[in-house]
């Protein structure tokens, strides 16, 4: 009896961890897509209404997806507190918090970092260029993330359970 309970627990545990890995594969393209659309909103704010960055960021954060809102809202809060932080510092700070709560990879992080370095410091055309570049890079990452997800989500969700089953069979 005790053996059976142990076996079930092993299967459940490894199954769940498999699902978690699969989940992170499927989350990344979603998060990237949400980031891209948020950046698109930011571009509109900057290009057409020349909204000041703190305001633009908080507007984007109120309209965009919940995960990206953490990044834009965090940067907006830091900037509007007038603590003396520049846009890139505020962005960097928000980015750290945001990154740890997402399934993004370090490649994605460096795209956002590069963007942060040029936020708000140049004229409109230049800002648009930087935002477009970041969106372009994110699109590329999204495509590869989707491909990876298609391959890995199924694999990992089965692999967890089957791995657990294998362990149980070997030990039983």
């Amino acid at each position: 009896m005790l053996k059976l309970v142990g076996a079930v627990m092993v299967i459940v545990a490894s199954g769940l961890s498999g699902l978690a890995v699969a989940g992170s594969y499927s989350r990344r393209p979603k998060e990237l897509r949400s980031l891209r659309s948020a950046l698109q909103m930011l571009e509109t704010e900057v290009a057409y209404s020349a909204t000041y960055l703190p305001e633009a960021l908080s507007q984007v954060s109120s309209r965009c997806d919940k995960t990206s809102a953490l990044l834009f809202g965090g940067a907006a809060a830091e900037l509007s507190s007038m603590s003396g932080a520049t846009a890139s510092e505020a962005w960097e700070k928000a980015l750290e918090k945001y990154y740890s709560s997402t399934a993004l990879k370090s490649r994605d992080l460096s795209i956002l970092r590069n963007l942060g370095g040029s936020l708000g410091i140049s004229d409109k055309e230049d800002q648009i260029k930087h935002l477009r570049l970041a969106m372009e890079q994110i699109s590329t990452e999204t495509a590869s993330a989707e491909e990876e997800a298609a391959r890995n989500v199924k694999l990992w969700s089965y692999l967890g359970f089957l791995g657990g089953l294998l362990v149980v069979l070997l030990l039983y």
């Binding site: 909204t51 846009a87 004229d123 409109k124």
Partner: protein, 328 residues
């Protein structure tokens, strides 16, 4: 002990951290009022006080020795520009063409750098290397002394008035308080308030933030914020039915043209002009035309012979004679 006054503490958030603490330390220790903060890359940090200027040391002490003074670094300058633009350089491009931007609270920041031209016109500034932050202070009652000379009690209105002074003599402060008192009315003088239309092209009279005046410009004042004067005066004339139209710093031809239009429309005019005295003003082509036409009824000459905002003279525009008030 002198407290860091409100006006200066309104400016502190746009200064980079190190400069911020120097200025804060200074304004706590000295009785003088800071009028300007001049920040020039590679040169000492200068504070303009009411009658002199001082360099600041790293710990916020005033000094007259340039070598003791804190030298502004390129990093300071970069941060300063980011902070005054609220990290939105792209949003201030239009304002940079005029060489200055206005902070919430109506403080004006003059900016110099390298001008980029496009077809002979300034497109924007680049390599910004110098800033002059002018502290704007609303002084309630600054205009009380001159107001009785400008009111047309029998006619129930005010005279067409031009305030004339060199830069930094309290023109804008005086204008703001005049507007406030005219708009609110002055009971002691038996003067009830008038509807005032204010064209605040540089946002320094009303200090509008998102269109709402941050400084007291009176109960019956409509503010067109950031609008070019000539167009703004015509807009107000047509739309808001003002009894008085006020604008700052009339000088360009189109401003004067619009001013003439207002003068002829039965609306009273309240404005300012750069100049040391009337003789100097008459020399300027556009202003000279208006003065010679005797349309303006009162000229108030401001100076700083007894401190900022000294009323040097009030002149009747019709007779060109002084009204004998040298001690307001």
């Amino acid at each position: 002990m002198y407290q860091c006054d409100n006006a200066v503490s309104g400016i502190l958030p746009v200064l980079p951290g190190n400069i911020r603490s120097m200025v804060a330390a200074f304004s706590h220790s000295i009785m003088d009022k800071i009028e300007e903060i001049r920040i020039r890359q590679g040169r000492p940090l200068v504070l303009g006080l009411s009658n002199r200027d001082v360099f600041l040391t790293v710990d916020g002490r005033p000094t007259h020795e340039a070598r003791e003074a804190y030298l502004v670094t390129p990093v300071d300058m970069e941060r300063l520009v980011q902070l005054i633009s609220k990290s939105s350089f792209y949003a201030i491009e239009e304002e940079l063409k005029n060489g200055f931007i206005t902070l919430p609270g109506g403080h004006r920041v003059g900016i110099t750098g390298k001008a980029l031209l496009d077809g002979g016109k300034i497109r924007t500034l680049k390599y910004l290397s110098g800033c002059n932050i002018r502290v704007s202070r609303a002084i309630t009652g600054a205009a009380s002394g001159v107001l009785p000379y400008l009111l047309d009690i029998d006619g129930g209105g005010v005279f067409h008035t031009v305030l004339v002074s060199p830069p930094c003599c309290g023109k804008t402060t005086m204008l703001r308080d005049l507007i406030r008192q005219i708009s609110n009315g002055v009971q002691e003088l038996g003067f009830s308030g008038l509807n005032v239309g204010l064209v605040d092209e540089r946002s320094e009279i009303a200090g509008c933030y998102r269109g709402v005046p941050q400084l007291d410009v009176g109960l019956r004042t409509d503010v067109l914020d950031g609008c070019p004067k000539a167009e703004g005066m015509m807009m107000l004339l047509r739309s808001m039915n003002p009894q008085v139209i006020a604008a700052d710093e009339i000088g360009r031809n189109e401003d004067v043209g619009a001013l003439e239009e207002v003068l002829n429309a039965g609306v009273k005019v309240l404005t300012t002009a750069h100049g040391k005295n009337l003789a100097e003003l008459v020399e300027r082509p556009a202003m000279g035309r208006i003065i010679r036409s005797k349309m303006i009824e009162r000229f108030v000459i401001l100076g700083r012979s007894r401190g900022v905002g000294t009323v040097e003279d009030i002149i009747d525009g019709k007779t060109m004679r002084t009204l004998g008030v040298k001690k307001c």
